[in-house]
């Protein structure tokens, strides 16, 4: 059940996106985020959808992998859509019942928010999480943020912490699954009862999970010590980041996608 969650999971399909330099990807990714927020018209949505779909195809991810990244955020998306639908009161009123009211403005804003969120997740997963190993993401961040070292920001340490956190997500998910099964065997029930009771049920899962995480952290620290880890100074890299003509070519192509989104949205307000 928990294994369906793709959060932080890297899936190797050997696509162009996998081979690109993570720094280039990261910068382009940020541009895409901006581009998606410019989305204002129906044509804009359509064009953005086309670009997003092209990118999914480029990433060679199976529909199932894509679905599993969208699935966890669906509840939030639906919540936000409903919130917009009922609280935005601009334009014509289409329907009213007591204090509830649906307006054309509400529908517009609900659709845009929902679509925007889904697009954001799709872009994030295809460009970053699914196609880049945590270590590469943290490498890229370390490099991109390295100017901050001058003002004593511990960039290397932050990047290392992030990559370890991501590395342990699958391990902790497996563990959660085990703990839940063991407690279900002892009569725990997470699926029925009031929301309060269900939340209480999860507390009994979280406690052993936290405790074992502390233990893991302690052991990992000793293991890293034993493997001569001493911070970022003097460390070399097995796969040092290098920007090649390949990155420039594909970076440019992806940039065109972002540019098209922005232009279309500016032209067709």
């Amino acid at each position: 059940m928990l294994n369906d969650i793709s959060l932080g999971r890297y899936i190797d399909t050997g696509s162009v996106l996998h081979k690109m330099d993570p720094r280039v990807k990261f910068v382009i990714y940020l541009l895409y985020l901006v581009a998606i927020f410019t989305m204002k018209s129906k044509i804009g949505i359509l064009v953005t959808a086309v670009v997003v779909v092209l990118q999914i195809i480029l990433s060679k991810m199976s529909p199932k992998n894509i679905w599993s990244t969208v699935k966890p955020i669906l509840p939030i998306t639906i919540f936000i859509v409903l919130l917009n639908l009922f609280t935005i009161k601009t334009g014509k009123t289409l329907w009213q019942w007591k204090f509830l009211q649906i307006t054309t403005g509400g529908i517009d804003s609900a659709v845009f928010m929902g679509v925007r969120l889904i697009f954001l997740v799709l872009i994030t997963s295809t460009m970053l999480t699914l196609s880049t190993t945590p270590l590469k993401i943290s490498d890229a961040l370390e490099k991109l943020l390295s100017p901050l070292k001058v003002i004593k920001v511990p960039v290397h340490e932050m990047a290392m912490m992030m990559s370890i956190a991501l590395r342990f997500i699958p391990t902790l998910l497996d563990e959660t699954d085990k703990i839940m099964k063991a407690q279900q065997s002892r009569g725990a029930d997470y699926d029925t009862g009031s929301i309060i009771n269900r939340l209480k049920g999860y507390v009994t899962v979280l406690i052993p999970l936290f405790i074992s995480s502390f233990k893991r952290a302690e052991e990992l620290a000793v293991a890293m010590d034993a493997r001569c880890y001493r911070g970022g100074d003097g460390r070399t890299k097995l796969n040092p980041l290098k920007i090649t003509s390949f990155d420039i070519t594909w970076g440019a192509i992806l940039l065109v996608g972002a540019a098209v989104i922005v232009v279309v949205n500016i032209v067709f307000k």
Binding site: T133, S163, R167, R227, L238, N239
Partner: protein, 604 residues
Amino acid sequence: MDYEVIAEDIHFSYTSYDESEATEKRKAVDGMSLSIKKGSYTAILGPNGSGKSTFAKLIDILEVPESGVMKVFGYNTSDEEHFWDIRENCSYVFQNPDNQIVGTLVEEDVAFGPENLGIPTEELRRRVDEALTYVGLQDFAKKEAANLSGGQKQKLAIAGSLAMKPQLLILDESTAMLDPRSRDEFLSIVEKMNKEKGITVITITHDMSEASRCDDVYVVKNGKVFMHGVPSEIFAQKEKIKEASLELPEDIELYTELLDIVDEPVITSTLDSQEAMINSVASILPYKDMEDVNPEAKHEKKKNPYSGVVLSVKDLSFKYEDKGKLILDNINLDVNRGEVLAIVGKSGCGKTTLISHFNGLFKPQEGDVVFNSSSGDSYSTKNKKELLRIRHGIGLVFQYPEYQLFEDTVEKDIAYGLRKLNLSPEEKHTRVLEAISLVGLDEELLSQSPFELSGGQKRRVALAGVLVMKPEVLVLDEPASGLDPKGRRDMFALIRKLSDIGTTIILVSHNMDEAFRYTDRICCIKEGKIAELRDATALFMDKERVNELNLSFPHLVEFSDKIKAAIKKQMPYVVFEETQKNAKDEASAIIRSIKANVEVEHAK
């Protein structure tokens, strides 16, 4: 003689803190002195809490001794100037595979150590590829480390050490969490590194059979060296080994028992190899006058008064939605009330999926799983309303259950399973008391936090949390994994006790020694199907079948067969009894068979 490590009268204590004040000191290493030769393969043996792991940490300067001198590669470990000279040339593989992997991809993880050493990229690439090929993981370089099996993860850890080109390799209970097959593969790699690359190896373990691969053995007890010698010298001192809470390997135990019965002395040098022991037996037993030899009489096997089927699996199939392959493929299994059944099979054969069906954690997709309670009612796991009743009747204990404790007192944790039953607080308390005494723990622990207990105690508390529901069937997944010999013995004594009071036991195990020794029937799963379901002794005496199933033999059966073959060469008329479940009984059975047959032969 060149020494890699020299320790002189080392002392070390752990200090526990209570609200920032040092309150308690626990002596871990208490005057340890030893020396480890360059290029040797040395075992440091001892039960849990004997200080052996702490000592290993002192070698790699993960801790510094309170007093005494520790010299590694000739440098004193408290000399800060040489800190990196020691640490960079010393590699470590820890017990838990998951907690030492830093990289996401296999190759990233192997590179982590040498990256820290500042090795240039080209050289790094070469070292990583070489190390992965050496341990046989070259095809996994770009795979996610988290998806490897436990055995592969430990091989990854050793590749990570190898890539640092160490002079000294320390294995800190590295094989404790592995199944026997992975353990053998892992140790073969270590042996190869020791022989081919001349890397000095120190292995910290509580497994005696691992010690037989070493050149030099130290046994530690209470933070001190208790015994020292080559393996055969250690093995010859049966009583002292027992005193150190360790156990002889089963082949050596059988051999010494055999000689004990016929009152012959054990010659130390024969303990070096199985061949030497077999030759020794073959040169003694056939010539021995058996008249005054009195082996123990045969134990009459209790006829098991099975009364019907307690758990019935009918035409059960299961697959995960997306993958077309069946994980369970038409399983039919009747578990008798009161029996001890082992479920064995390779990792990934579907064992865990099967036992998760027993108490309805998985709902049958096809077929049915039915629990027949002693009160005469039957419950199907398909019926959601009956799940609670089923989960009280069929207790499931997963591997390492101690990681699942969560309440603030032991009593509350044990009582967790009772909260949906309508019991008064007094009744609950009585149940908890029964459960804790059943697992052999003191009542005083009830008010303590479960997290303050030792590893073995925690596991017992977790077990009590299942036993408190008074299950009729207890399913245990590798209940003894990670325990030291004494812990294992105690665990199986407890299981036997539960069986004696009528609990049906289902044991999932990789360990054929345990499956053979403690169970009545063996159910072998292969690719989601039941490949074999048979009496344990009968199965392991059917050599062809065992090979066909690709199971390993229990060490006792394997060695005993070799001895019997050697005796038969000289006394072809001897017909042996069936193999017994432990070394002592088996030794008696062999001697009994020889004696009886010799008498018949003489009478002719």
